[in-house]
């Protein structure tokens, strides 16, 4: 089994806010991330797929196809967007990096040809990332 990882970057803004919390609780739980005007990140996305090497092509997956799927399903929807208002998954779910990784997994998992989705990793900053491997 060979694992192939493709990286991409996107920039997006978000607010961490739970409308069921009081303003004080939102401030206490989310701190600066509760700024109602939002704040942004340059996210780095790593999509890892796995599969056997095709003996004819030498590929696990056609990288061009993987790149197109990532653009169509993820980057076109999220890049340069305000996640809370412009991405359907986040109209009623807080766009934490955890939830972003899960949403990206759900967008990609059924769209791959040949290879199987193994992991979605989203870096919020160079020091902080989330891995999602699908439900156990």
């Amino acid at each position: 089994m060979v694992y192939l990882t493709r990286k991409a970057e996107f920039s997006a803004s978000h607010v961490y806010h739970n409308p069921e919390f009081t303003p004080e609780k939102n401030c206490r739980v989310f701190g600066k991330c509760n700024n109602p005007h939002g704040h942004g990140h340059n996210y780095t996305l790593e999509v890892t797929v796995k599969g056997e090497v095709d003996p004819h092509s030498g590929f696990v997956v056609d990288l061009k196809q993987l790149k197109e799927v990532m653009h169509r399903e993820v980057l076109d929807a999220m890049d340069h967007r305000f996640l809370n208002k412009e991405v359907p998954e986040f109209l009623h779910r807080i766009p934490t990096t955890e939830n972003i990784a899960i949403a990206i997994w759900q967008r990609l998992v059924s769209k791959l040809e040949r290879a199987k989705l193994h992991r979605v990793r989203v870096y919020e900053t160079p020091d902080l990332f989330v891995d999602f491997y699908g439900e156990a």
Binding site: M1, V2, R6, K7, V53, G58, F59, V60
Partner: protein
């Protein structure tokens, strides 16, 4: 494959004059820490092995001209598997966990042996 199939499968990578990469290879080994040395294995030994058996073999070469790729396309997947097998067969001082190769800043490949 026909010329048309080669072109549609490999795109720019099918340029008959070839193209190059700066590959980065990561070799991950594991083991217990030796009480006397404090090391899993002596990095001098690992570095020496990789230099002799991997880098001297592949560095600054046209991979398609090497006997190692006489029967298969030198995709980074296949290169990763070859390097894994070289280290797995020849380096005994620690357990080989995986070989990872960065082909470009955006593409990387990993092989940890048969699952």
């Amino acid at each position: 494959m026909s010329d048309a199939e080669n072109q549609s499968t490999y795109g720019k990578c099918n340029n008959p004059y070839g193209h190059g990469h700066n590959y980065t290879v990561e070799v991950t080994v594991s083991g217990q820490v030796d009480e006397a040395t404090g090391m899993v294995c002596n990095l001098v030994d690992l570095d020496g092995f990789i230099q002799r058996e991997v880098l001297d073999r592949y560095d600054h070469q046209n991979l398609n001209t090497l006997k190692e790729f006489a029967g298969e396309v030198p995709t980074t997947e296949n290169l990763c598997i070859q390097i894994y097998e070289i280290v797995h067969r020849g380096f005994r001082q620690a357990h080989l966990e995986r070989v990872r190769i960065e082909e470009t800043m955006l593409n990387s490949f990993e092989y940890a042996g048969e699952e």
